[in-house]
């Protein structure tokens, strides 16, 4: 996840001030993420330095307003068109499991079962959330949650495969 591209996205259609950017970025990132406000301002400073964003004065409540520069617009569009490489070995549980195998961890089974329980809990909670998004008409959040569930499906199948092969 990149705060840089999140900010460029939020400034694409309209100017905005830092606090509103933080709130919208939380919402853009979905259900569980929260951004540290400090991270927003340091990123904005960097974006100004790189001439992707500029300061557009103050609003009526004396808050500094930011706007997207042409260079920032081009940078965002270029990024949007870049396919995202898959690098599953970096995912936490795959790494943790690889470490467990490396040391022939005696509780691998329990580790897998606990992960499975966590996935099932996520499936139940996300399915409920997904239907809320669906009936609220929030198509983007509905589709994102569906995507997360498809990933969990794959993870659950993988854990079942490991458990079966360990038997």
């Amino acid at each position: 996840m990149s705060v840089k591209y999140g900010i460029l996205t939020l400034l694409y259609k309209q100017k905005n001030h830092g606090y509103e950017l933080k709130l919208e970025l939380d919402s853009l990132l979905g259900t569980k993420a929260k951004i540290n406000p400090g991270q927003i301002y340091t990123t904005l400073d960097r974006l100004i330095r790189d001439q992707l964003v500029s300061s557009a004065g103050m609003d009526q409540q004396e808050r500094k307003v930011y706007e997207l520069e042409l260079k920032g617009k081009e940078e965002l569009e270029k990024w949007l068109l870049e396919p995202v490489p898959y690098n599953t070995s970096k995912e936490d549980f795959f790494f943790k499991w690889s470490c467990a195998r490396k040391i022939q961890f005696h509780d691998e089974q329990q580790m897998l079962e606990q992960q499975k329980t966590l996935i099932i809990q996520e499936v139940m909670e996300l399915t409920q959330l997904k239907t809320e998004f669906l009936f609220e008409g929030d198509e983007t959040k509905y589709l994102l949650t569906t995507g997360m569930l498809f990933h969990l499906d794959a993870d659950l199948n993988w854990i079942n495969q490991v458990v079966n092969r360990n038997r």
Partner: protein, 239 residues
Amino acid sequence: MIEVSNLQKEFLNGQESTQVLKGVNLNIEEGEFIAIMGPSGSGKSTLLQLLGGLDVPTKGEIEIDHTPIHAMKEKERTVFRRKNMGFVFQNYQLLPNLTVEENIAFPLHADGKLTKENIEWIHELTRSVGLEGLNDKRVNLLSGGQQQRVAIARALANHPTVLLADEPTGNLDRARAEEILVLLSTFHRKNKQTIVMVTHDIFAAGFADRIILFKDGIIDQVISREDSDYAKYLANFMA
């Protein structure tokens, strides 16, 4: 709405008898979406067949809206079933040479109820399951997901008291299954449709208000999200 007490079912195979249901007690409220999960042979599909009046119990009682269906004669049961039950099966069970609209309207034809208002209702159902424009297409030319949509619309044609679905997504990939579950969920939410769905799939069961775990012919556990340890229990059950 549905009250089941001490339900038992025994199947005879020559000299041997197998007790598939061993005393099931269950209450389902009006407007609830219930998922029944369990291993193959645990009796979950048999329970669904008894709830739908497709078969009779060896012992025990089933009341649907205070009507005791276990005590009905076959003919009476058939009439009750046509009027009050909608069925969706894993393999769709459509009439392959009939069109989408003819299949959806079939339960009304069978009851001689095809009035002008009913035809409008069939059109509305066809639209609500996303098959607008395909009314005159023969169902054997449709994809699996589309055929299951027809089956759902057909099951709802009679405004059933209960919709019973036996592995409705069992033949579909994850994306098509999602469309079917969204449809069921929509009818549940918007029309307060009572649904009882048998599934082996936790991703389908997640749509339900309550999950009933079935094992060896009895209810092992009733799961609701309010229980603190429900995920652990589900994970153990699915192991």
